[in-house]
C-alpha cells in the first residue's frame, strides 16, 4: 500500500466542514482502502461538490443525451455533451463551432466586478482549451428591482466586470439579455456564453495519454484566491456569505489573452496531446479529469508549481482557483518546442509532472506523496442522488386568474409607454455600449436585434446566437416555461434567417434538497427536451447552478437557453426593425386571448399570475421553417418576434429601432379580433409562435403564399409610414417611444442620458 503523508487526523468536524456526508465519507474510505488525509479530503470535497460532479442533477441531465440520440443529423455533433469542456457542431466547409454557457452567480453576488469578469474568463478557457478561437461572447443577467440601490450596485459591477474582461480579450460581446425581478434580489444570475470557431481536424481533447509525456503548468502563479470556490458555489447564500470573499477569484484578462494566443499557437505544432484549463477545483480537477479521460495516471510534484504567495501547503495549492491557468500535456521530446512558444509570450510555464503507468492521480510535494487517488473515482465516480420531488403548492394559487376582474387599460398609449420603460423591456444600450461588440470585425447584426449575427470570414456563412428565458413563465408552469424558453430562443435565431443547429443551457435553480425546487428543475428540463426534440435541435452541453437562494426565497427557476443558428449566406440576413417607408406589415401566427404570466399583467396590474401562453411545437416548427425560407428567398425586409409586451411592444420596437425612426399605420387589427379576444390581449398578450414581418409591396402575394404553404396564418396589419405608431387605440410619435425606451435604464443608473 502507498504511503501517503498525513498532515492532520480527519475528524467528523473536518468532514462536515467540507460538506461531505457520512455516506460520502464511507465511499471515500472504500475507494482509498484507508483514511484520506486532509489534502485528499479537500480534493474529494471539491470534485464531489454539485458544481463539479452534478451529483444532484445527473439523472435528469442524462435525458438530454437520450434526446440527442433520437435526433436526425447525428453526424453534425462532433463532440457530445459531457465528453469534453464544450460540445462541438460541424457547420460545413471544414469548420465547426464550439460553444457553452456557464453560471458565475454566487461569486457575482459577493463581488460583482470580479465575479462576472472571471465568469467570462472561465467560459473562454473552456472554448480555447478545445483548440477553438473564441469569436463571440454573450450573457444572460438577472437582477432584483432596479430601483434598489443594492441592485444598481450589482448591475453596475457585473456589467463593468464583463466589459473589462471581454473587451481586453478582444472578443466581442455581441448581445444577451437582462431581466429585473425582485426574486433575484441578493442573488443575481450571471450566465456567460462563449462561442469559438475551429477546423474540424484540429479539435483538441482534454486528455492525458502516452506514458512519459510531460505535464506542463501554464499561466498565472497560484495563490490562495478562490480557495474552495466550487464548494462555495454549492451552498445557499446567507448573511455570512460576505465572509466568503476569499472564495471569489480575481481575474487578469491580459494574462488570459496571452494564454489564448500561446495555446492556439501551441496547437499548431502538433506537440500537444491534451489541454485542460484550471477552472473550478483548479489543479485537482484538471489533473484528475485529464487522467480519467486519457485512462491513464498523472503524477505531479507541487514543488514545481509557480506560486504567488509563500507558505502555501499542498491542500491550498490543490484547491486554489486562481484564474488564467492551464494544464498542457506535451509529447515527450517536444518540450523545447513548446517552451519556445511560452517564452515568446512571456508566460510562466513549468513542467510539473508526467503521465505515468496506472490510473491514479499522484500528487507529490518535494518527492513525498501527499495525495494518491484513482483519477476516475475523483472525476467520474462521485455520488449520484435521486432527489425527492413535489409539485409546489403556490401553483394552485397562481393558476387562479379571473379575467373578469382584470380591467382593460384606459389609455393604451400610456400602457405601451409604461411597458417600453420597464427595465426588462427597455433598451439595454447602456449595457452593450460598455461591451466592445465589434472587435474582430465580424459582427453583422448588433445587440438589440432578435439574435446577434457574426460572419465567418473566408466563407459566406453567418452564425446567429440568441439567449433567452422568460423565468416568470417557468415559475408559473415549469414544463411550458421550459418549452417556451427553447422555442423563443430558436425563433429569435430563425428571425435572422438562420437555421437553429444547437442548444446549450445554464440551469439556475434554488436548493435541490427542497422537493419543490427539484420538481421545478425536473419539469422544466422535460420542457426544454420536448422543444429540442420537436424542433430537432441537439443539445451540446450545459451547466447547472443550484442553491440560488437569498435569505428571502429561491429565485424563479431560470433555465437560460442559448441557441446557435447557421445562415448559409450572410447576404440573406434579416434585421428585426423596419427598413423602408411603404413596406407592408404582416403578422404571422395566431393571437389568442392570453394575458396570463404576461409583462402587461405584471406592469399594469401588479400581478405575476395565470398560466403562460400555450405553445404548439408543430406550429412553432412551421413558423421557423417559414422564416428561414423567407430569408433565403429574400422575401422579407424585417422579422421580429412578439414576446414580452406582445404585439404593441413588438411594433413599437420595429419602429424605434429603425435607423430612420420610421412609423407605422396599423389598420388591420380588425382581422385579428374575434368575440373571445380581449383588447388588452390583442395589444399586449404574449401568444406564442408569432412574428411581425415587413415586406416590399411587390412581395405581398408571394409572402402570403409562402406562409400558407407552411400552413400558417398570415394577416396584413398595415404599413410602414410616417413617424408615428398608429393603432386603433393609440397614436404615439416614434421619438416619444424611443425616448422612453432609450432613457429608462440611464435615468436610473446615471440620472439621465449621458452622451
Amino acid at each position: 500500500m502507498t504511503t501517503v503523508a498525513v498532515e492532520k487526523k480527519i475528524t467528523p468536524e473536518i468532514i462536515k466542514a467540507h460538506g461531505i456526508t457520512t455516506d460520502e465519507y464511507n465511499r471515500i474510505l472504500k475507494i482509498l482502502g484507508r483514511e484520506p488525509n486532509l489534502t485528499e479530503l479537500g480534493m474529494f470535497s471539491v470534485m464531489w461538490s454539485e458544481h463539479c460532479s452534478y451529483k444532484n442533477s445527473k439523472p435528469i441531465l442524462k435525458l438530454f443525451s437520450k434526446m440527442n440520440a433520437e435526433l436526425p443529423r447525428q453526424e453534425q455533433l462532433l463532440v457530445k455533451p459531457g465528453e469534453e469542456n464544450a460540445g462541438i457542431i460541424d457547420i460545413g466547409e471544414g469548420w465547426a463551432i464550439c460553444f457553452k454557457i456557464e453560471s458565475h452567480n454566487h461569486p457575482s453576488a459577493i463581488e460583482p466586478f470580479q465575479g462576472a469578469a472571471t465568469g467570462v474568463g472561465g467560459i473562454l478557457r473552456d472554448i480555447f482549451t478545445m483548440g477553438a478561437r473564441p469569436v463571440l461572447l454573450m450573457n444572460s443577467l438577472r437582477f432584483g428591482d432596479l430601483n434598489q440601490p443594492m441592485t444598481q450596485r450589482l448591475f453596475k459591477g457585473v456589467v463593468a466586470g464583463i466589459s473589462h474582461y471581454g473587451n481586453c480579450m478582444g472578443i466581442p460581446t455581441v448581445g444577451g439579455e437582462v431581466y429585473f425581478d425582485p426574486c433575484y434580489e441578493g442573488n443575481p444570475l450571471v450566465n456567460a456564453m462563449a462561442l469559438g470557431l475551429i477546423r474540424t481536424d484540429e479539435i483538441v481533447r482534454g486528455s492525458a495519454t502516452g506514458i512519459g509525456n510531460s505535464v506542463y503548468y501554464l499561466g498565472a502563479a497560484t495563490g490562495r484566491d478562490g480557495l474552495g470556490g466550487a464548494a462555495f458555489a454549492s451552498k445557499e447564500l446567507s448573511e455570512e456569505s460576505h465572509e466568503d470573499r476569499p472564495a471569489v477569484q480575481a481575474g487578469d484578462p491580459f494574462m488570459e489573452k496571452l494564454l489564448l494566443e500561446a495555446c492556439l499557437e501551441l496547437l499548431k505544432t502538433d506537440a500537444v496531446v491534451g489541454m485542460q484549463d484550471m477552472g473550478a477545483a483548479g489543479l485537482t480537477c484538471a489533473g484528475c479529469e485529464t487522467a480519467s479521460r486519457g485512462n491513464s495516471a498523472v503524477e505531479i510534484d507541487l514543488k514545481y508549481v509557480p506560486r504567488r504567495e509563500t507558505g502555501m501547503v499542498p491542500y491550498e495549492i490543490m484547491l486554489s482557483e486562481s484564474q488564467e491557468r492551464m494544464l498542457v500535456i506535451v509529447k515527450k521530446g517536444r518540450e523545447s518546442e513548446v517552451e519556445r512558444i511560452f517564452e515568446k509570450w512571456d508566460l510562466h510555464a513549468a513542467r510539473i509532472g508526467e503521465v505515468v503507468p496506472g490510473h491514479d492521480y499522484i500528487v507529490k510535494d518535494n518527492g513525498k506523496i501527499v495525495a494518491q487517488i484513482p483519477a476516475k473515482a475523483l472525476a467520474d465516480d462521485g455520488p449520484v442522488y435521486i432527489r425527492e420531488e413535489q409539485r409546489p403548492a403556490y401553483l394552485n394559487e397562481t393558476a387562479q386568474l379571473d379575467l373578469a376582474k382584470i380591467s382593460e387599460p384606459k389609455d393604451f398609449g400610456a400602457t405601451l409607454l409604461k411597458l417600453l420603460g420597464h427595465p426588462s423591456i427597455a433598451s439595454k444600450a447602456w449595457v452593450w455600449e460598455q461591451y466592445d461588440h465589434m472587435v474582430r470585425t465580424d459582427t453583422v447584426l448588433y445587440p438589440g436585434h432578435d439574435a446577434a449575427l457574426i460572419r465567418v470570414k473566408g466563407t459566406k456563412k453567418g452564425i446567429a446566437v440568441a439567449t433567452d428565458c422568460n423565468s416568470l413563465y417557468v415559475y408559473l408552469d415549469p414544463r411550458r416555461g421550459g418549452n417556451i424558453a427553447v422555442a423563443e430562443a430558436a425563433r429569435n435565431v430563425a428571425c435572422t434567417g438562420a437555421r437553429p443547429v444547437g442548444m446549450s443551457n445554464c440551469l439556475n435553480y434554488g436548493n435541490p434538497m427542497k422537493p419543490e425546487i427539484f420538481w421545478q428543475f425536473h419539469q422544466s428540463v422535460l420542457g426544454l427536451i420536448e422543444s429540442c426534440k420537436a424542433l430537432e435541435i441537439p443539445v451540446t452541453g450545459g451547466n447547472v447552478s443550484f442553491y440560488n437562494e437569498s435569505p428571502q426565497a429561491a429565485v424563479f427557476p431560470t433555465p437560460t437557453i442559448t441557441i446557435v443558428g447557421l445562415l448559409d449566406d450572410i447576404e440573406n440576413r434579416v434585421p428585426s426593425s423596419f427598413q423602408n417607408e411603404g413596406d407592408l406589415i404582416f403578422i404571422v401566427g395566431e393571437t389568442k386571448n392570453e394575458i396570463g404570466a404576461s409583462h402587461y399583467l405584471m406592469v399594469e396590474h401588479g400581478l405575476q399570475k395565470g398560466v403562460p401562453p400555450e405553445l404548439d411545437l408543430i406550429r412553432e416548427k412551421k413558423l421557423q421553417n417559414f422564416l428561414i425560407a423567407a430569408a433565403a428567398q429574400k422575401q422579407v425586409n424585417s422579422a421580429h418576434d412578439t414576446s414580452e409586451g406582445g404585439l404593441a411592444v413588438a411594433l413599437a420596437e420595429c419602429c424605434l429601432k429603425s435607423s430612420k425612426g420610421l412609423g407605422a399605420v396599423i389598420d388591420g387589427l380588425e382581422l385579428i379580433r374575434n368575440s373571445d379576444l380581449r383588447e388588452d390581449a390583442l395589444y399586449f398578450g404574449e401568444s406564442q409562435s408569432r412574428v411581425v414581418i415587413s415586406v416590399n409591396a411587390s412581395k405581398k402575394e408571394s409572402v402570403i403564399r409562402l406562409a400558407m404553404d407552411h400552413d400558417l396564418s398570415i394577416l396584413p396589419l398595415g404599413k410602414v409610414f410616417g413617424r408615428e405608431l398608429v393603432m386603433d387605440k393609440l397614436q404615439v410619435p416614434v421619438t416619444q417611444l424611443k425616448s422612453v425606451f432609450d432613457s429608462a435604464i440611464p435615468n436610473i443608473m446615471d440620472g439621465g442620458l449621458s452622451s
Binding site: 478582444g170 461591451y435 459582427t443 449621458s754
Partner: protein, 233 residues
C-alpha cells in the same frame, strides 16, 4: 504600397487592421512582432487597438518600451507613415510621437458605438481624398479616450491645423453635446507637425465594408492609396 501592423502582447485589433488593409484593400501587409528589432521596408506602420500589456500602469505606457518602437520612431523621423488607432494612439502619445495624454472617459464607462467624425483637415496623406468638413460614420471602442493637453499644446495643434478629426453629430456640429468622452476641443484624432503620424481613437478598420454597416473608414485607406502630395518610399 506596403504596410506593417505591429503586434504587441494584448493587441486585439491587429488582425482586424490586417484584414482591412490586406483582404479588403489589397495592400501588401505583414504582421510584425513587438520584440522584433527590425522593421521591414514598408510605407505605412499601423499601431493597432487593444490593451497592450493589459493597460497596466497606463494605457500604452509599457508598449513604448518594446524593441520595435525604436524602429517605428526612426521610420517616423524618415517621413514614413505611422497610424495609431485607439490603443495605438495611446502608445504614440506615450512614445512622444504625438503630444498630449489620455484620461478616462468622462462617463467613467467604456464606450463602444458608431459616432460622427468631422474632418478638420484633409492635409495629410491619411485624409487627402476627404473634403474639408466631410462627415464620417466610424465606431469608437475605448475606456480612455478623453484626450487631454495643456492650453499651449492645444493652441499649437490648432495653429498647425494638426487636429484632423473631431467628434460631431450627423449635422457636423461640434460642441459639448457631441463630445462623447470629454476630449479637449472634441479631439478624435491629431497628427504631428510633419503630418506623417496620425493618432485617432475611432476605428476606421471597423468601418471598411458594407456588411459591417459603415464603410466610411475605407476613405482613409483610399487616401493612402491615392497619394497626392506625399511621396511614399
Amino acid at each position: 504600397m506596403k504596410a506593417a501592423v505591429i503586434v504587441f502582447p494584448g493587441s486585439n485589433c491587429d488582425t482586424d487592421c490586417f484584414h482591412a488593409l490586406h483582404s479588403v484593400m489589397g495592400i501588401s501587409t505583414e504582421m510584425v512582432w513587438h520584440k522584433d528589432a527590425v522593421l521591414p521596408k514598408v510605407d505605412l506602420v499601423v499601431l493597432p487597438g487593444g490593451f497592450s500589456y493589459g493597460d497596466y500602469l497606463r494605457t500604452g505606457a509599457i508598449a513604448k518600451f518594446s524593441p520595435i518602437m525604436d524602429e517605428v520612431k526612426k521610420h517616423a523621423e524618415r517621413g514614413g507613415l505611422v497610424l495609431g488607432i485607439c490603443n495605438g494612439f495611446q502608445i504614440l502619445l506615450e512614445a512622444g510621437l504625438l503630444p498630449g495624454a489620455m484620461l478616462r472617459n468622462r462617463s467613467q464607462h467604456f464606450i463602444c458605438k458608431h459616432v460622427w467624425l468631422k474632418t478638420e483637415s484633409n492635409q495629410t496623406p491619411f485624409t487627402s481624398i476627404l473634403k474639408p468638413g466631410e462627415l464620417l460614420n466610424v465606431p469608437v471602442a475605448h475606456g480612455e479616450g478623453n484626450y487631454y493637453c495643456d492650453d499651449a499644446t492645444l493652441k499649437s495643434l490648432q495653429d498647425g491645423k494638426q487636429i484632423i478629426f473631431s467628434y460631431s453629430n450627423e449635422k457636423g456640429e461640434v460642441n459639448e453635446r457631441t463630445n462623447i468622452n470629454g476630449s479637449r476641443a472634441n479631439i478624435a484624432g491629431i497628427c504631428n507637425a510633419k503630418r506623417n503620424v496620425l493618432g485617432m481613437m475611432p476605428h476606421p478598420e471597423r468601418a471598411s465594408e458594407p456588411v459591417l454597416g459603415s464603410w466610411d473608414g475605407k476613405k482613409l485607406w483610399e487616401s493612402l492609396l491615392s497619394q497626392g502630395g506625399v511621396v511614399l518610399r
